[in-house]
Subunit: 105 residues, 4 copies
């Protein structure tokens, strides 16, 4: 499964349910924000060290994977709605970050 | 450029700057949350219809692509830190969503 | 009930459960962020006009009041943890905003 | 300055700039979400212990107070827009939390 396949699957999923009218950038950024909030809440009381051992708690582990999947799905749908290629945008941003934060040495 | 290439580039970028110790899941989920907040603020006063015409304002267009790139980069770094395959997790979630929200007809 | 009374009640509530060690600014800002995410998700598919009629749906109305209460409680606990007086900080910010955004006429 | 005074000042501020049409619950929850994102980003790389010493860095200290003020202002404007009394809602939620999380002993 590639990112393109996943995007196509998401488009088909929304079309089969007639959900496209809801999928404006404004609405999707709110949906993304809501899911990131749920992901954040899973880590709020953990120390940074405990957050690295998230797999040792099966319920937490299930919820983390579930929420990170939701975040990914809404980010992809937002990018579809905006017509932005995420890989290309992210790659161009690393180029800019390499100028902003030059590596030492 | 594939998602795997992008992930490798992000790992090299963090390693060259010795930033790995900061990249715990707890910290990265906060960074993701911060960038989603900045993305959200770009759309806060727009109507849903205006949000679809975001490219007609060149400054907004630049900022949207910039912020969505930041969100993508932190989501990828969070997934790297967690050892989660985003495509696989997202695909499995669509499977579950197809059961939760059956398509009509 | 004043804001001071509410703050004292929150301090007593945390103390009675020995939750103070968890209430670092870092953790509380994550908790605030999580609750704001839940509040956001309640409005994500509504039009701006529908969002103004939130009381007409009893389940939505209950959830909105519940989530806005959670946001308020974590904001107060964060302010307690930081030792910041919210009213004073907010008032000083309006002063600055009056300079940044002069009223027309 | 009381919470009621602050609310009145916010209403006057918005009215003098004719900003009320933008202040739907949907828009204000996005604005709140954006400001919480900015507040979160200030703490993202700090350890929980460092986050308690935020006043020792003057630039961080200024930014924290500034962002927490913004969060407060948008939460108050959201509550105004919803017609919800924050103190009353928060107090009722502590009542419910006392049942959900009984104090030991």
């Amino acid at each position: 499964m590639t990112l393109d396949d996943l995007n196509q699957r998401l488009r088909d999923f929304a079309a089969a349910r007639s959900w496209e009218p809801f999928h404006t950038p404004k609405n999707l950024v709110m949906a993304l924000s809501g899911e990131v909030g749920e992901l954040t809440s899973l880590f709020q009381w953990l120390t940074p060290e405990e957050s690295e051992k998230w797999r040792s708690d099966p319920e937490l582990a299930h919820n983390v994977v579930d929420e990170i999947a939701d975040v990914t799905l809404y980010l992809l749908q937002l990018a579809n709605s905006l017509g932005v290629d995420l890989i290309e945008a992210a790659n161009a941003k690393i180029d800019r970050n390499e100028h902003r934060f030059p590596a030492p040495g």
